[in-house]
Symmetry: C2
Subunit: 252 residues, 2 copies
Amino acid sequence: MDYDDLLNENFTEDDLKSEGYDNFGKSAQNARTEQTRHNISQAVIKRLPRYYRYLRELITQGRTRISSGELAELMNVTASQIRQDLNCFGGFGQQGYGYNVNYLYTRISEILGVGAGINAVIIGAGDLGRALVHLSMFEKRGVDIVGMFDSGEGMVGREVAGVNVYSLDYLESFCQNNKVDIAVLTLPKDQVKSVADRLVLCGVRGLWNFMGVELDYDRNSVAVENVHLGDSLMILNYKISSMEFDRGEDEF
Amino acid sequence: MDYDDLLNENFTEDDLKSEGYDNFGKSAQNARTEQTRHNISQAVIKRLPRYYRYLRELITQGRTRISSGELAELMNVTASQIRQDLNCFGGFGQQGYGYNVNYLYTRISEILGVGAGINAVIIGAGDLGRALVHLSMFEKRGVDIVGMFDSGEGMVGREVAGVNVYSLDYLESFCQNNKVDIAVLTLPKDQVKSVADRLVLCGVRGLWNFMGVELDYDRNSVAVENVHLGDSLMILNYKISSMEFDRGEDEF
DNA sequence: TAGATTGTTAATCGATTAACAATC
DNA sequence: TAGATTGTTAATCGATTAACAATC
C-alpha cells in the first residue's frame, strides 16, 4: 500500500474504536447535522481545503493525532479558529485527546466532496485546457475528466492525457449520454458566456471559470468558481510595489 | 488607435482639465499620500483588480464618467464600499460629478503597478508554464516575460511564444545580467522550495506560486502570491454538494 | 482522579453599510 | 443657486480571538 492508497482510504469510526477512542463526533451538544450547511460562512469554506492539505501531509508523516494548538502552530493560525471552523460541521475531536488525524481527514474530504464521483469536462483544448488535464489535481481530488471539447479543427479527434477531444457541436448529445457535473471553461473569452449557457441547459451544476468573464446564474442551481489569474498577477504587482514604498523606495 | 492603445494610454490631470473638471484627487481633506499604503486592508486590495477590469470595460464602451451608485449596480456591490475603497488611496472623484472613468482607470492601474516595467521569468517549461506564456495576461498587465527555465532536456534551448527556454543551471547568471522582478513557479512540487530560495538570493522580489507548496519569506522583502488550483476545485465541489443539501438531495 | 483539550459562549476586532455634511 | 454625489464619520454587522465550563 503506497501513500496514495493510504490517502485515498476512508477511515471510519470503527478504525478509531480499535484505538480505544470511540466517541468522535458524538458530543451531545453539537449534534449539528449537515442540513445546516448553508449557514456556513464563505470565510470558513475557503479555509477547508487548506486543512485538507495539511491533514494529508500529516498522514504521510504518520501522525495519528493532533491538538488544535499544534495544528494552529503548524498552519500559522489560532487554535480558536481551528476549533470554531471544525465545529461548524460537528464535533470532530475529543476533549482531553485532540483530533484523530485520519478521522478528521476523512470528514473534511467528505465535506469537500472528495470521492463523490464527480465528472468533469474541459471546454477548450488550448494550452490552458491541455495543461489542466495533465495536472494530477483532478484525480487527486476524485474528479474524473470524461471529455474535452474544442471548436477548432486542430484538436478535435485527438487525445490528451488519455482524454478524447470532441467537437463543441457534440456537447449536448454528450451530456445526454454522460453524467457531467462540472465544466472547466478555458475557451476564448467571447465564447464563454454562450457555451456556459448551453452547459447549464445540459444540467451541468458547476462551472470552473478561468477566463475572467463574469458569469451569474442562480446560486442555488449553478455553482460558479472563478479563477482570475490576471487579478492574482496584479495583486502580486501591488505587493511588490508596496514593499518598495515601505522601504522608502530606496531602489530608485 | 485601437482599443489596446486606448487602454494603455495613461490619462493625466491635464486631459481632464480640458473637460472642465480640474479638481480630481485634490480634496483638501484627503491629501493622503501613498506612504500610508501599508495600512490598507487585504479585503480592499483583493477588490482592486475587479475595479480595474470593470473600468477597462467601461472605457471600451466609451463611457467617460460614472457615479459610485451606477458602478455599484454594475458590479453588484454597495456604493458605500466603492467610495470607501477608492478613498483609501485618495480622493479620485468629485462631488456632484462622480468619477472620471479614464482618470480612475489610470490611478488604479498605477496602484496595481501596471506599466511599472516589471520583468518576469517562468520556472518550469511544462504544460502549465507553456500555457501561461501563451496567455495574453502578462502583456495586458504590462509584465514582460524575459525567459523561461527548465531542468529537463526536452525544452531547454527551444522557444515558446517568443521566449527562450534556458537551463535552470543558468538561473543565477541570468539574474545577474537581467532585471528579474517576478518568478512564476510552475515546476514540480519537490523542487519549488529550493528553486524559490535560489530566486530570492538572486534578488527576485515576487513569487507567483502555482504548485500549492507553502512558501514563507519575510513579507517585507519577498511578496508571494499563491494560486491554489486544487483548493479552488474543491470549493467548487463543496458548492455543488451544498446545493444538493439545500434542495433536499432530490437528485439521489 | 488530575491533566488535557475540546466545544461553545462571550469579548474584541475589523469590515461593511448607512447617513450626512461638504462641495462641486 | 439647486441638485447631485462625493468624502468621511458613525452604526451595524460579521468574523476572529479569548476564556472557560464540559468532559474525556
